[in-house]
Symmetry: C2
Subunit: 467 residues, 2 copies
């Protein structure tokens, strides 16, 4: 499968490569029983992990997504995703990985589809600026919220329906597309009352595992990304990532090595792709890894406060920002390099039009060679500095290899949760902030919380500076 191939290299996680701060090779046989238990649990829980069925059980959904996507592609100048977190990061990763790096700046002919925006914040300046650059009458909005309790998305939805109605009257309903829960939740209620047919976030598919359902697939279809190849890539990776042992299953090995490193106090995971097109993929990974494994208690309710902080970086750019720290700093991180063998363009470094003296050694090489050599050089540098790292090589970056990457990290994350014996699929720690926001925004039923908050904030403070 040539151009869709992926290679994983894990050697630089071990002491023979990085020295005393690496993992002991003996950790792998020693973990055989734990891995066997983990695999058994992954098999038993497969049905509950509904995201694992998405590569296989969506024939009808995909047909509807393609149909709606083709309609939006042909009918609108702009496509705006209204969603946040897991409802946004998959679409951002798909867009960056598969579309032209300056897609929105291209002509309609070169784009072949609408301009694309993901509005995953409520910053008033940023949100207002969207309406400075789009004609709202010519804009389709994809509103994504499983529950309809997402205050950011609902506030955006309310603003947009008001603006649309003022601009177009009753016709505005045609510009709204909804993805939410099958039957329950506020957004479903709203969609039904307004007469919107809605796409479904299947039960058991949490936000951070939802990219391969309509949450991400509709963006892909609107952008002309090959939805079938995306799911085929995920299915191909699933075949490998359901193998029982770490010798056959890279997701299990990744999970084992990272959880072993966590036990040694390695609390940082750096995602360092050498391709601008993968920068938003790192953001998607950061939510997956952080929200799934950052847990206060294990399955027995024992306080553990697990969690590895994911860091998104970009090669080669961040070599000039972070590598001093990675090389000389603490032995507290693992770096995952992602390389792309074949970019879409081959860009040569020609001879300069002015004398460049000893800088001419680069002339005749390509930027493709340069970025590949810089990644190789950086792997060499962090390895010789004794820092654990691993590498994923993509033969090329396309819908299929991206589908493989999504599924690989979802499986690795689920497996890591089993090895740590925590619930990788809940997010109880997000509640406190949501409740406080509801209270501060005056949502009925949260008056007591509001009172506590205002008291808290009237407390006098020292160590406050005015500048």
């Amino acid at each position: 499968m040539g151009k869709n191939a992926i290679r994983f290299h894990f050697n630089n996680m071990f002491r023979p490569a990085v020295g005393e701060h690496g993992l002991d090779m003996a950790a792998i046989p020693a973990a055989a029983e734990a891995v066997a238990r983990m695999h058994a649990a992954m098999c038993v829980k497969k049905e509950q992990m509904a995201w694992r069925q998405l590569p296989y059980n969506q024939q009808q959904v995909v047909a509807e997504v393609k149909q709606t996507g083709a309609y939006i592609r042909a009918s609108f100048d702009n496509f705006v995703v209204l969603g946040i977190g897991g409802s946004a990061l998959g679409s951002k990763a798909l867009f960056a990985a598969c579309c032209h790096p300056r897609y929105n700046a291209l002509s309609a002919e070169r784009r072949g589809g609408p301009r694309f925006y993901v509005e995953d914040n409520v910053d008033p300046d940023r949100l207002q600026s969207l309406f400075d650059v789009i004609d709202i009458k010519r804009t389709a909005f994809h509103v994504i919220s499983k529950s309809g309790n997402t205050v950011e998305t609902m506030s955006q939805f309310i603003l947009v329906t008001d603006l649309l109605q003022k601009a177009m009257g009753a016709d505005f309903r045609r510009n709204i597309f909804v993805t939410t829960d099958k039957e329950s939740g506020l957004m479903k209620k709203i969609a039904d009352a307004a007469g919107w047919k809605s796409f479904v976030v299947p039960d058991g598919v949490g936000g951070r595992f939802s990219v391969l359902c309509p949450v991400g697939l509709l963006s892909a279809a609107v952008l002309g990304i090959d939805v079938d190849a995306l799911l085929e890539g995920a299915a191909a990776m699933d075949k490998i990532c359901t193998q029982p042992t770490v010798e056959e299953n890279p997701a299990y090995l990744y999970a084992l090595l990272y959880t072993e490193a966590m036990k040694q106090g390695v609390n940082i995971s750096v995602m360092l792709p050498y391709a601008d097109a993968l920068a938003p993929f790192s953001e998607w990974y950061c939510q997956l890894w952080a929200e799934s494994l950052g847990k206060a208690v294990d399955n027995q309710g024992k306080p553990v406060h697990y969690g590895q902080t994911p860091v998104r970086a970009l090669g080669v750019t961040d070599q000039h920002s972070q590598i001093q720290l990675y090389n000389e700093g603490p032995y507290d991180k693992i770096i995952t390099f992602i390389g792309v063998e074949h970019f879409r363009n081959t860009l040569l470094i020609p001879s300069a039009a002015v004398p460049v003296f000893e800088a001419d050694y680069v002339c005749g090489h390509s930027f493709n060679e340069l970025i590949a050599h810089e990644m190789q050089a950086t792997i060499h540098a962090v390895t010789t500095h004794g820092k654990m790292n691993n590498c994923i090589w993509l033969e090329s970056l396309n819908a299929c290899t991206l589908g493989k990457l999504f599924f690989f990290f979802e499986m690795a994350t689920a497996a890591a949760g089993e090895l740590l014996q925590i619930d990788a699929f809940n997010q109880p720690g997000v509640e406190a902030g949501k409740v406080a926001t509801f209270a501060l925004m005056g949502r009925p039923g949260y008056e007591d919380v509001a009172r506590q908050l205002s008291e808290k904030h009237s407390a006098s403070e020292s160590y406050v500076f005015h500048a």
Copy 2:
């Protein structure tokens, strides 16, 4: 100075606010001697820290920058910065903080200046895509490299001079603007040979401390950003950040609290602004903090492997990605919140054009209230979860308050280096990767390194997977 005011809140760094995992208030008096030594060193070394003079000693430079900036503003459709790391991040922070959030998508009339691009990577797809959206004949390039040894910037420079000459012949020289060392280095030699007058990176101003010299100022001038206000903000912050004690000097307190936390094993620093316009500022901070404090040895040459890994996050977006980890995960991080009291726009949440049922509690509020309440709610949540945090409130985000932020963090970083007794201004750990890249690109004089690298890579590998 109303709209230019900044407030710092440090209370949530201490045990009374966050409990046992906070800092002991007694750490402050206990550190009095260390702080006094640090302040003495900061005074003695002030002259060497040439970046500390930049708010005061650039009258002539600023006049020239403004003149050139006005010329570029009036004469070109596009302005492209060719630089990486410290030569790029300041310009990106200035652009995002002070210009329209979708500036490049606006009409020339609304922009009032050229489109703006910072090309700080060598990804062939991204670089090629630039030439799909600009008319190179109508584009000014600002080439920034102190030494001229920056392989990424030099390769871009060589490509651009070739393309320009092919498009415009000898006239192309008018499209190139250079900032480099005063007298030494390859880029200076190239500029002199080509007859380009170049702006100067002053001696003693390292890349990550260079935003307030022409490296950043020319971008500001081209973008119509108030250069004087930027430097006045820095000067105003300098007044406060040269005070001798942590009771008077927020930069010293920041440095003391962060280094004390580091000694307790807190190895992560999260920069979490609640404004899209500050997201690139976080990237600038990440280089400053990582590259300055990530050091293998102290001033006595003793191995220390210090360094706190900076993490850039964005409120409210990353509440839906990272807060589960921050709240329930390990006590291994400090979160710096940055809030903006007054955004440029006030954006109301109106009534919806369709029934939204219990979601209507947000109607009549503003997005300004929402983002402020979410920040307050998140501070409350991480604090009640026992995680150290502090907060910087900007009355508004503008050139002056941004200048204050730049200078505050530069002073805090220098002070932290003194408290840790390390050299905050070198980056020896970056060499290994640079040398390896030179070798792999066939630079004369690096043949031995090239040989070692190829041997290393021919070594057979286990734990390699093909998918």
